[in-house]
Amino acid sequence: MEITPLGDCAVLIRVAANFDDAPESALQQVSATHRQLAAAKIPGMVELAPAYTTVALFYDPLTVITAGAPVGNILGWLEQRIHEAVSKNADSSADQFKYSEIEIPVCYDNEFGFDLDEVARRAGVDQKEVVDLHSGAEYRVHCVGFIGGFPFLGGLPAKLATPRRETPRKEIPRGSVGIGGKQTGIYPIKSPGGWNIIGRTPRRLFDPQKNPPGLLRAGDRVRFRPISREEFERLAI
């Protein structure tokens, strides 16, 4: 575990050396550390942001000082507490934690999947096979970011990997399912974006009026279920 300052109000905790070689294990370690820190109640800790191989811990230096940290060595004081929090809970709970398994209905019609054609062409398969491959795989949420509720999903069949569009679109409709490089994701709100759009879900992924506001969290398992245009309309209501 390596802890480095991320400015004067956050530290970046690196818990896995790399991602591509062992994504499942990186995800496991990040999620475990995330939960251990969330449970630890370190004085001054404001929030945590997990992503791939790291957990960013945001803190309020003034509260940390009030809690007894020397002004000249807040980093050292925090490092000690982070190590304690992680080692104390090291073997408990980590493996028993149950991740949510979420099914996302997707309509893969060309009307919604602007780039289905392009993804199929690059993969050297027909559109139906793109849909079969995309909806046949199981995905893990590696992190949520970019815009509110946007999940970066790992587990995309290698054949479907498609580089991001050279010129991003100015507006991608809410619910659009896209492929960006080796990952797939869902635009939770209308937004500009450069991913290749292959379908659309009627399911709401982000609602700021709810707490939590996002449907998906890092670690969750996701599957896509192909639906017809009629079912899309029905579910969209």
Partner: protein, 328 residues
Amino acid sequence: MKATAIRAGFLTSVQDLGRTGSREFGLSVGGALDPHALRVANLLVGNGESAAGLEVTFGGLRLRFVDDRIVAWCGGDFEARIGSTVLPSGHPGLVHAGEDFSIASPSIGCRAWLTISGGIDVPIVLGSRSGDLKSGFGGINGRPLRDGEEIPLGKNPDRAAALIEKLRARRVASWKPSHDWSSTARREPSLRFIRGSDTNQCAPGAIDTFSTGSFFVSPDSDRMGVRLDGPRVERSNETDLLSEGVAPGTVQVPPSGKPILLLNDCQTIGGYPKLAHVITVDLSIAAQLRPGDTVRFREVFLADAHRALNERERDLAQFRHGIESYFR
């Protein structure tokens, strides 16, 4: 209780001290780009420090009031008026029912934080009243203020009521906080930074280039970040990193070699190498950078950043104590 935006200005939004706890879901902290200025301005009108105010970008705002209110503002070099009376930055002023408060475009800097006694009473969404203009919620309809829109106000707190009576005769209070706090824009500022964790992803001389060069602020800067143009900051390789947490103040280097200084509406994660982090205290000055401005950077230690923050907080406690008598 409300005020009406006769003119909404170039870009005005409701902001408080930001939204924490939702980074996990990809929401940026948002809030006033200079939270310290907002806290000071809130103290000046008798509000709690975390009350919501208006972040005014490039001025052009005119508000009409239907009841008596204390107003104050801190930020760049703007000219503000109550009716025809000038209201300098950092001075609480009384606006009578039916009067207008207006703020023109600034000569230096670009943002001001306007507070109104009672605060702006929009609903709290995920712990904050701030408008998240990127995700489109919070504030007033999740977008910048528009001409003719109404701004809901809270009830004047007792503290403000006392100050209203005191200002009946003279309109504008003679007292104010230190100049540094109420007028935050600087000509050719030098911002202090601590070294980032990805300096090894940049060429050996990158940190020197960054700390000796003069950079211009590009026109495509906004609440997400200040884009800088100037000497190219070389990267040692062109591959971006796996995305990881970034924070307001982070200076990242995209393949173009033109650094971006992130501000409060930045994405929660990013994959560009992190060259540096501007210290929190100096983000007050960074929040005033506007296209065409020149800015320099100077390296300090993390402990220096924490000391500066701690000192400013101590001074703020003293100021808070010092103004008590005006509200009795």
